[in-house]
């Protein structure tokens, strides 16, 4: 079947840098996966919601605040931090 995706675009979105061999391999695997879904989409199934994936309100969490990690623990697992905040390369939305 024809590829319904652009492997370079997908790799870029996922921040992956792939070799030519990997691109070929993953394109083929992804095509297989999409083929399975295509088969499912073509199957004549009743348009109902999958009960197995439905929960009722008993499965909701009550609005009770629980423990927090604390800024020390949060910043400790980040590659870099400053003044209790996680430090990242500059990202800007400002007027420029």
């Amino acid at each position: 079947m024809a590829e319904g995706f652009d492997i370079d675009h997908l790799a870029k979105l996922a921040r992956l840098s792939l070799t030519a061999e990997e691109k070929a391999l993953y394109s083929s695997q992804l095509n297989q996966i999409l083929g399975h879904f295509q088969a499912l989409a073509e199957a004549d199934l009743p348009a109902t919601i999958d009960d197995a994936r439905v929960v009722n309100e008993a499965a909701l969490r009550s609005d009770e605040p629980g423990p927090v990690l604390g800024a020390d623990a949060v910043t400790r697992i980040a590659p870099a931090s400053r003044d209790g905040q996680i430090s990242v390369p500059r990202v800007v939305d400002d007027e420029s």
Partner: protein, 501 residues
């Protein structure tokens, strides 16, 4: 020659992000609140650490449903959550949990009121349709320092209801009226606090223009992250003028994402995050589809307060309130309910009660809040009313004394001031101050007859007898003067009519 602006019609749609009033976050138990030290309100679920699973907060779901009921939307049997994938440091999991295909609220409408020709004239009413509202998680906050950016995840995971309108708004005034109406609905139902200074309500504003009468919508721009009603209004004005200028110069409008600089009062093009719109949504495998029982919907429907404009119509049509007083009362549920308690205690004169509440009571409440040194002069009425020294039934008692002619309207103001200071009943203050008006008919009859006999008022008497009803009022002043204002005005009126025949 350029086309006058009135030849263009502006079309506006809003996406309003509202932080819901909950204690814990939407998919995690971490608490949240404004003004905490950075990253102190974060738990492993918020960060999406390995081994954690999100579980939806019941209160966030119920507040969302309540919003739906308040705007007359339908609450679908099922709703579900999706992952919106993107890489950006405000987002600890690299995806945001949101609702794409099955949101919790579908449809509904918000009634708005436009400003009238003057403050005592009601403006036009209009209904703005809601497309849907979905329950998602807020993202972290970035601040920029030197060569880097800093991330605080306290805000990440805060329950956020995104309310999406149809493109039904046609002016900056309508956008402003819509937001005021929406804020009143959300706060009155207890769904959200909408404190814009704390970032609890943020808007994305879609604007396009077209020739008046044209069917087809023009190319729209989206100005993101507006954090005040005035910014939305200013953005609409700015963006409308800019688009008209572009089109009239023969250029075209580019569909783009824009930002707004409130200090400089101007918009700007946001540097497009590459592929920002390719979010590769898919159903979140961690959160099952939720079935919402009709019992829950029925239970929540009982919590929905009366719509503010229904209340306003009831006050004007049924209680006979002037629009000015009604419009002040209905924007604040606590104040309106306080007023209604007073009316229940003295149903004969709702307007008299409304005037005291909307003018004297609000003024003194604001002044005492200011005098207390608190920075809450503009605090909402629930806070102010909690410390109000006058109870609704006491205010009703004051109006009743005035209506019965025991004290004059002028004296009522004086008694009100005293009540606000001491919390005493009106009757006690009236007695203590000896304010009871003279209702001794014999003495008053004598004074009335003396005044009528005075040649100075002969002209007024002649006019009254000739059919000018109002001329009688000219006689009341001298009578009041001679009784030092203590005469019962109702009795004076009766006596005058009796003697003038």
């Amino acid at each position: 020659m350029s086309t006058p602006p009135s030849d263009w019609e502006v079309v506006i749609g809003l996406e309003v992000h509202v932080q819901l009033h909950t204690r814990a976050k939407v998919f995690a138990s971490s608490p949240w609140g404004f003004g905490k030290e950075p990253n102190e309100q974060v738990d492993p679920v918020v960060l999406g650490l390995p081994g954690t699973l999100p579980v939806v907060n019941r209160e966030a779901v119920e507040k969302s449903i309540l919003f739906g009921l308040v705007v007359g939307a339908s609450v679908p049997e099922h709703c579900s959550w999706d992952r919106k994938n993107y890489f950006y440091p405000d987002n600890p999991k690299n995806y945001q949990l949101t609702q794409k295909d099955f949101p919790v609220v579908v449809g509904g409408q918000v009634e708005i009121e436009l400003p009238g020709a003057s403050r005592n004239v009601m403006g036009e009413h209009k209904f703005i349709r809601i497309h849907h509202a979905h329950l998602e998680e807020d993202v972290g906050k970035l601040s920029h320092a030197g060569s880097g950016s800093l991330v605080d995840y306290n805000r990440a995971g805060v329950p956020l209801l995104e309310i999406v309108t149809e493109p039904d708004l046609r002016s900056s005034a309508e956008a402003e009226a819509f937001l005021r109406s929406l804020v009143a609905m959300l706060t009155q139902a207890g769904v959200a606090d909408c404190d814009m200074e704390k970032g609890q309500l943020r808007c994305d504003c879609n604007v396009s223009i077209r020739r008046r009468g044209a069917e087809k919508l023009g190319t729209r721009t989206e100005t993101k992250n507006l954090n005040s009603i005035s910014s939305v209004r200013d953005t609409v004005i700015y963006e409308t003028a800019r688009q008209i200028r572009e089109l009239e110069a023969g250029r075209s409008i580019t569909q783009e994402t824009r930002g707004w600089n409130a200090e400089l009062a101007r918009g700007y093009v946001l540097r497009d995050k590459e592929d920002a719109h390719d979010y590769r949504y898919f159903p979140d495998p961690d959160i099952p589809t939720l079935k919402i029982s009709r019992e829950t919907v029925a239970r929540l429907a009982k919590l929905a307060p009366e719509n503010l404009y229904d209340r306003q119509r009831r006050y004007v049509d049924k209680l006979g309130l002037p629009y000015t007083a009604a419009s002040v009362l209905v924007h604040d549920r606590a104040l309106a309910e306080w007023f209604e308690l007073a009316v229940a205690a003295h149903p004969a004169n709702p307007s008299g009660i409304a005037n005291l509440v909307a003018n004297d009571l609000l003024r003194d409440l604001a002044a005492s809040a200011g005098a207390a040194g608190a920075d809450n002069e503009s605090a909402p009425a629930p806070i102010l009313l909690a410390s109000c020294p006058i109870k609704p039934a006491q205010l009703a008692g004051l109006v009743k004394l005035t209506d019965e002619g025991v004290i004059s309207k002028q004296q009522a103001k004086e008694v009100f001031t005293e009540m606000f200071k001491s919390g005493q009943d009106a009757a006690a203050i009236v007695d203590a101050k000896g304010l009871r008006q003279n209702s001794d008919t014999g003495e008053l009859e004598k004074i009335v007859q003396e005044v009528i006999a005075d040649p100075a008022v002969a002209k007024s008497i002649a006019e009254y007898r000739a059919g000018n009803e109002k001329a009688i009022n000219a006689l009341k002043g001298p009578i009041m003067k001679r009784t030092q204002g203590k005469a019962n005005p109702v009795l004076i009126d009766q006596l005058l009519r009796k003697f003038l025949g």
